[in-house]
Symmetry: C2
Subunit: 332 residues, 2 copies
DNA sequence: TCAAGGTGGTAATACGAATTATCACCGCGA
DNA sequence: TCGCGGTGATAATTCGTATTACCACCTTGA
């Protein structure tokens, strides 16, 4: 149409006009006009093959992105991710094709489209260590949403500051006069659990009190509640929101007053569908939307920036006053 | 490593062993072994450039995919889309980078990554007619979720059968003895609204009754309710769930009994955040998850199949009994 | 011994844009 | 007239895979 070469079109398209390359203003105008009238758009695939990037960010989740039955725990993360991507003019590639093996999706498989994106965001409670290691080894730009321990090298992440948030919650209970606190949950396994336990221990250590731990695995709420009462616990610090709901409900059914007889502190939002309750739990909120947002920020920085130091960011959690913390009643 | 050419690797990788091409089993094994030990994966970008498709489906929404404040009306569609894509081994490309102009996102812009996908699913109440026309003209495989009128040619879609569902609801009201029914809503504009109105008219025509229409734009619930009562309407057929909630609430506040004094029929799920209510509305449910699922099915069919006839699919809605329909009370 | 036919693999090219070395041209001064 | 520097655009190459025409080699039968 304009009688110029493909190279010239490419140069105009990319606005290259630095010292090395020059285009006559008149020619540039002609090309731009042709582009406008034809609606020509550079093929993003060829672009990506020839150049470095294509402004596409991969999103890998170990669970379905759009959960059907679960409590939509991941939704807020994705809201943040999308908001930030939209602002930056990036598209999102949801790696939904990942086949399931051993109970979770796998990043690496024989027809993996991850490398089509400039980089990727990883979402999920537990990330496969080997896969993380491979990402690190291959130099794939990526960010984990949620803190991760090293995996063949430091892992870039944007996590929630569970230790600080948990410590703060425990301190509030201490300030209210509690001296018999117990941690209900795994307290180990995924970093997010271990970190809560760390915060729990730190706050109790500082107060010179013993950290009690009641594992929840394979124990019914009734069993747990019995143990708490038998050991004189006045404040239960609950890892999983759903467990807190179950215990609170059971306690009430038994005629106990929550929080007067038993304070219950929830360490974050529900990750499993929980029974509906009118209780407003004292604890903290995970800054999910902001974490998603920050993850994209960090990722794009990683993509554009060179091999700087590994970004590891902890976002503070927002305290929730709630109504499940009170000074312990006099011993009965 | 194996001393074979790039072409051979490609052939082995793609399992080509039909009549035209032959690979010695021994060679194939050697190559496969090398692939296994190195963990080699074909670059999806180059793959896409050379071949026709890459099993990536675009998802374009005129509103954010992960809505923050709205009632998550679109979520179930996406659940269906993801489920089906996962089953088919497809990844999803969310076209979040589309810039906003005139109040909604635009598919076509100067750095449009749509063509990176094999085809795309369109989601949104109102799709821009010009953009649809351009998609049709360019021969881009796409499917609209929701029926669309022609736009420079027939538009492939997977829609909800609003006419049939609305007719069925109206017939239930007629069977219950109602003779004074009114349609509350736009009844025009987006196809989904016009289709509901069509079903409403059809059912009343068949019964020899006049179809009344009360536009809701710029009218308060109080104004609407006044009009309904003044004109002796006993059953309100409400386009927007949220409007139904507002009117029901107002009616109750005025001492009316819903449904004895006024039946209210809801034509589908909430698309706007609605006030919470304990009322279980009679009406129907939009098969959103299935629509998303079917849209992906249709799209992949379109991509693989040749230029057959344009697929246009209407999925039936699920009736909801609810508790807002009763026989009209004797005139007061 | 030679053509015919079957086997297994490779060289070459396409895909569409980005990049860079190179070139043609012009005006000007020596 | 020759050379030189500045301008503007292009030819050629690259990215990594898919595809196909083609070739070298071997066996077989006459």
């Amino acid at each position: 149409m304009t009688g110029v070469s493909q190279a010239t079109v490419s140069l105009v398209l990319n606005g290259r006009d630095d010292g090395t390359v020059r285009i006559a203003p008149e020619t540039r105008e002609r090309v731009l006009h042709a582009i406008r009238t034809t609606g020509y758009v550079a093929d993003p695939v060829a672009r990506r093959l020839a150049a470095r990037h294509n402004r596409i960010l991969g999103v890998f989740t170990y669970e379905p992105v759009f959960p059907a039955g679960t409590g939509d725990f991941y939704h807020p993360f994705l809201v943040g991710i999308e908001e930030c991507a939209e602002r930056l003019g990036c598209d999102l590639l949801l790696l939904t094709s990942a086949p399931v093996a051993d109970g979770h999706r796998r990043i690496f498989h024989d027809d993996n489209r991850l490398r089509l994106a400039d980089g990727c965001v990883l979402l999920g409670r537990t990330l496969d260590r080997d896969e993380l290691a491979r990402l690190v080894a291959e130099g794939q730009p990526f960010v984990s949403v949620g803190r991760r321990d090293d995996a063949g090298g430091p892992v870039p992440y944007v996590g929630a500051d569970y230790p600080a948030a948990t410590s703060a919650v425990v301190r509030r209970a201490l300030d209210a006069g509690h001296t018999a606190l117990a941690y209900l949950g795994q307290g180990a396994g995924p970093e997010s659990h271990a970190d809560r336990m760390t915060g729990f221990r730190a706050a109790l250590d500082a107060a010179g009190l013993p950290p009690r731990h009641e594992p929840t695995a394979d124990r019914s709420p009734a069993e747990l509640l019995d143990t708490l009462l038998a050991t004189g616990v006045t404040a239960a610090v609950v890892e999983e929101y759903a467990d807190g709901v179950a215990i609170a409900q059971l306690a009430r059914e038994r005629g106990l007053d929550v929080p007067r007889d038993l304070s219950i502190l929830a360490l974050g939002d529900p990750t499993r569908p929980a029974a509906t309750t009118d209780l407003d739990f004292t604890g903290f909120r995970i800054p999910r939307r902001e974490m998603g947002w920050q993850a994209v920020e960090v990722l794009t920085g990683l993509i554009e920036g060179g091999p700087e130091d590994v970004p590891q960011l902890l976002v503070p959690c927002q305290p929730v006053d709630g109504a499940t913390l009170a000074s312990p009643a006099a011993p009965r």
